[in-house]
């Protein structure tokens, strides 16, 4: 075991982690621990764009953006946070441009902007061009640009280090962050990082679904690490299903395709979104479009022999426009489906995409131990966190924005804190949990296999807690997850070595997914209403009287060692906007 001491430790090197690192490195001695090489992070998969009311191509302002964000989130958004997001959007896009990001340009040389779902002029009048983009590889450009600037600033990275535990020391009844424990993939060595401030920026957890746009590595390690140490998770029942994933594979085809004029059609060739969202049509918010697609499929208007998908039609768009604005996604269709998007419509279905919920933070990125108390020295930003700027449904292009705005804020806040705070004592035997977890898996002689359990988990999640949910389907999922958690105790791995043991790490990642799936299902069961991404067929309406509140899920360990999820609730911050019915 090795012990390291840093002022600030950042867990994750995606957009949020590197944006934080650029700030923290200037102000404090900082280490970035990441399980992937920074440029492998899933921020690089983002295609469509990053929202900011620059008003480069038409009238726009941050207040309209705030409104759209609040409405898009079905009013579960904390409005003070949404206002910060929309206001600071402008500078965060300009920051990236100054760092070198090659945005697409307008004829007069400014940053070009395009339409995206749910973003509107003057509180819903018509779609507005607010998304700043670099072809359909905006996330790739953000990730590259941030990495380039980390190289420039000399940020210290520990690549292929997996953070597996959060260290908390209680002093005078106050939980404080003492550091993290990490596992080095190359050698199997365990490292304890003592740090005055820790920032989680470890991304989402979409891999508990089967059809998903998320990478294999998005297994919610950060959420699981803090949850196990008594920190709550907020609004985990809210998961976004993006309307246009490649049929059966889940690979994303950006909403920018519809922003450029693409149309969704059912098997009769009908532009069905006109029925469900007369104004915004194909550009209504994602939860609305995903439900509409499944309604078409259920009512027998799906395409293909099994009627299990619909089409994204780009055939009426000029090939030059597709080549210039959507080169990557048209290539995905060619590579993975053998389809030529110039002439053929692309089969699509909704795909599990984005975790709105996560580790609760305030607008400085400080993590909350309950509804109000901050955990000194602990921060989170990006998809792992819940500020909450996305509420019950995130608008497209608001996450690349979130990681930049709140990544920067968390980086500054954490480094400022570590400049004035002292180290918190490490708990006795800090690596104990990780050592025993690894030993158990390495020496287990059980008869369960990681791949089987993961497959069963993904199948139950897709079948029971996806776009449509009911009491009964969620209960089925809860029971199945409990069974899988039991069987997980008997999981065994084949690779017993120390060097690059990805067999071992996949087993640990599965454990994290199981913990989070349980939190998600239990939170969803208790929310007896429909709001944003959480749609209950048995409670099809939003219920502001009983459920205009954030879910806070805590891990409870009984005297006999049994684990349960305890739910509590937190008020929503409302400032300017009164809840209204959401129409597009």
């Amino acid at each position: 075991m090795k012990i390291h001491k840093y002022d600030t430790v950042i867990v994750g090197a995606g957009g949020a982690g590197m944006r934080a690192a650029i700030e923290a490195t200037k102000r404090s001695r900082t280490a970035v621990l990441t399980k992937l090489y920074p440029t492998r992070s899933h921020t690089g998969a983002a295609q469509g764009g990053m929202a900011a009311a620059l008003a480069n191509v038409e009238e726009d302002n941050w207040e309209w953006h705030t409104f759209d964000t609040v409405k898009g989130g079905d009013y579960l958004v904390d409005q003070d946070a949404a206002e910060i997001l929309a206001k600071e959007a402008i500078d965060s896009v300009l920051d990236l441009e100054k760092m070198g990001l090659p945005f697409n340009r307008t004829p007069n040389g400014t940053i070009d902007q395009r339409r995206f779902g749910g973003h509107s002029r003057n509180h819903g009048e018509a779609p507005v061009r607010r998304s700043c983009y670099a072809a359909d590889r905006t996330g790739h450009m953000i990730l590259q640009t941030l990495y380039q600037n980390c190289v420039k600033e000399g940020v210290e990275f520990f690549n292929e280090f997996y953070v597996l535990d959060q260290l908390i020391t209680e002093e005078d009844g106050v939980k404080r962050s003492a550091g993290v424990v990490a596992y080095e993939l190359a050698t199997g060595e365990i490292h304890v990082f003592q740090a005055k401030a820790v920032i989680y920026a470890s991304g989402g957890c979409g891999k508990f679904f089967k059809v998903t746009s998320n990478a294999h590595t998005l297994t919610g390690d950060g959420q699981a690490a803090v949850y196990r140490r008594g920190i709550p998770l907020e609004d985990m029942e809210f998961f976004q299903f993006h309307p246009t994933g490649i049929w059966r594979m889940g690979i994303l085809l950006t909403e920018g395709a519809r922003g450029e004029g693409g149309i969704l059609r059912n098997k009769d060739g009908e532009r069905f979104m006109e029925k469900y969202a007369p104004v915004m049509k194909d550009l209504a918010s994602r939860d609305v479009v995903s439900r509409s697609i499944y309604t078409e499929i259920r009512e027998g208007r799906g395409c293909g022999p099994e009627g299990d998908h619909v089409y994204l039609d780009l055939t009426h768009l000029p090939p030059e426009q597709l080549d210039a604005k959507l080169p990557d996604i048209t290539e995905f269709a060619r590579t993975y489906l053998g389809i030529e998007p110039y002439t053929d419509p692309i089969p699509i279905q909704p795909t599990a995409h984005y975790a709105m919920g996560g580790i609760p933070t305030n607008v400085q990125g400080e993590v909350l131990a309950d509804n109000t108390t901050v955990v000194p020295g602990l921060y989170a930003a990006g998809e792992v966190a819940c500020v909450s700027v996305h509420g019950a449904n995130r608008l497209g292009t608001n996450s690349l924005l979130d990681i930049n705005v709140f990544g920067k804020r968390a980086g500054i806040a954490a480094a400022d804190y570590s400049q004035k705070a002292d180290y918190v004592d490490l708990p006795d035997n800090p690596a104990e949990f990780v050592v025993s977890q690894i030993e158990r898996l390495r020496t287990s002689t059980g008869n369960e296999r990681v791949a089987d359990l993961r497959r069963e988990l993904q199948e139950t999640m897709d079948a029971n807690v996806m776009v449509f949910r009911t009491e009964q389907t969620i209960k089925t999922a809860v029971e199945k997850i409990a069974e899988l958690r039991e069987r997980y105790k008997n999981v065994a791995i084949q690779d017993k070595g120390k060097r690059f043991n990805t067999d071992l790490l996949e087993a640990i990642e599965l454990g994290n997914l199981l913990d989070l799936a349980e939190v998600m299902a239990v939170s969803a069961l208790a929310r007896k209403e429909s709001r944003g991404g959480h749609y209950r067929e048995d409670y099809p309406n939003r219920d502001d009287v009983n459920f205009m509140r954030h879910t806070m899920a805590y891990r409870e360990v009984g005297a006999d060692g049994s684990e349960t999820v305890r739910l509590d609730y937190k008020p929503v911050v409302q400032t300017r906007y009164q809840p209204m019915e959401r129409k597009y």
Binding site: L36, Y37, T39, R40, H42, G44, A45, L94, E97, K98, M99, G100, P102, N104, R105, T106, G109, T110, I111, A134, R137, H140, M141, Q144, Q148, N149, V151, K152, A186, A215, H216, T217, I251, R265, K267, G269, C303, G304, P305, D313, H316, D328, F332, T335, Y336, L337, G338, I339, D344, P347, V450, A451, Q494, D495, K498, R499, F500, N501, T502, D503
Partner: protein, 253 residues
């Protein structure tokens, strides 16, 4: 839109899709043996699946010790460049049906970088060469502009191709010059230098050109085009290198 009731993909998928293929994988684990060996695995797989899916089937159902890097599974993170049937490709962007599955499919680590275990190589020298070309925008502005810098659409287009790079190393590890001498910067580093040299906003082109003028720089390139063939992002790597060479000769860019 024509409304095909059943299109090409769907028609094919109606019949039973599975075929039997052999994956012949180069194995190496110094914890077990100092020698690398070939191992054959037989799998049932839909030929429209990716080589990465085949590797996962092996790892998940047959042999958990098989080790490789991967993340996004659709060709954007650059984790899984490997030599498949003797050519550098991304395992997640290569469909079984496109690589002659009647014969054993060979899978080996990319060449020229030290193999650490199975298909995992040491990427550090590769990233070091990247960092050496100063891969970040350098400007001499004394005061930062308040708004964005202006750039015409044509100027933006000038370096579009080289902004696509995902640092997968398929190009560099297919280059015979790099195999023979790991000191050579390699095509990927030059591609990333190109991305800044031809960016109208950048003001350090001269410095970068000086770095690439080094004995381990662009002049080592012998224009074999392996890199261009290998690039999964379709970047015209050899052309980018030629443009850097030309800029060095004329020092006008």
């Amino acid at each position: 839109m024509a409304t095909p009731v059943m299109d090409k993909v769907e028609a094919e998928s109606a019949a039973s899709p599975y075929i039997t293929v052999t994956f012949r994988v180069r194995r190496f684990n110094p914890e077990v043996s100092a020698e690398a060996t070939w191992q054959d695995f037989q799998l049932e797989i839909d030929p429209k699946e990716r080589v990465l899916d085949g590797l996962h089937k092996i790892k998940w159902d047959l042999d958990g010790t098989l080790t490789f890097r991967r993340s996004c599974a659709h060709g954007i993170c650059g984790s899984d460049a490997m030599r498949i049937n003797g050519k550098n490709r991304l395992a997640c962007k290569t469909l079984i049906k496109d690589i002659n599955p009647e014969k054993p499919i060979t899978v080996e680590p990319i060449k020229g970088l030290t193999v650490l275990k199975d298909l995992v190589v040491d990427m550090e020298p590769f990233f070091q060469a990247y960092r050496d070309v100063m891969p970040f925008l350098i400007t001499k502005d004394t005061n930062e502009p308040t708004r964005e810098r202006l750039q015409s659409a044509e100027d933006r287009e000038r370096f579009d191709d080289t902004t696509k790079c995902i640092l997968c190393a398929a190009c560099t590890s297919s280059c015979p010059v790099f195999w023979n001498d790991g000191q050579y910067f390699g095509p990927a580093a030059i591609v990333n230098a190109h991305r800044f040299i031809f960016d109208s906003r950048d003001e350090a082109g001269e410095q970068r050109l000086e770095i690439l003028n080094d004995k381990d720089g662009v002049w080592r390139c012998r224009t074999t085009f392996n890199c261009t063939d290998a690039c999964p992002r379709g970047i015209e790597v050899t052309k980018a290198i030629a443009e850097v060479k030309r800029a060095l000769i004329t020092r006008r860019y």
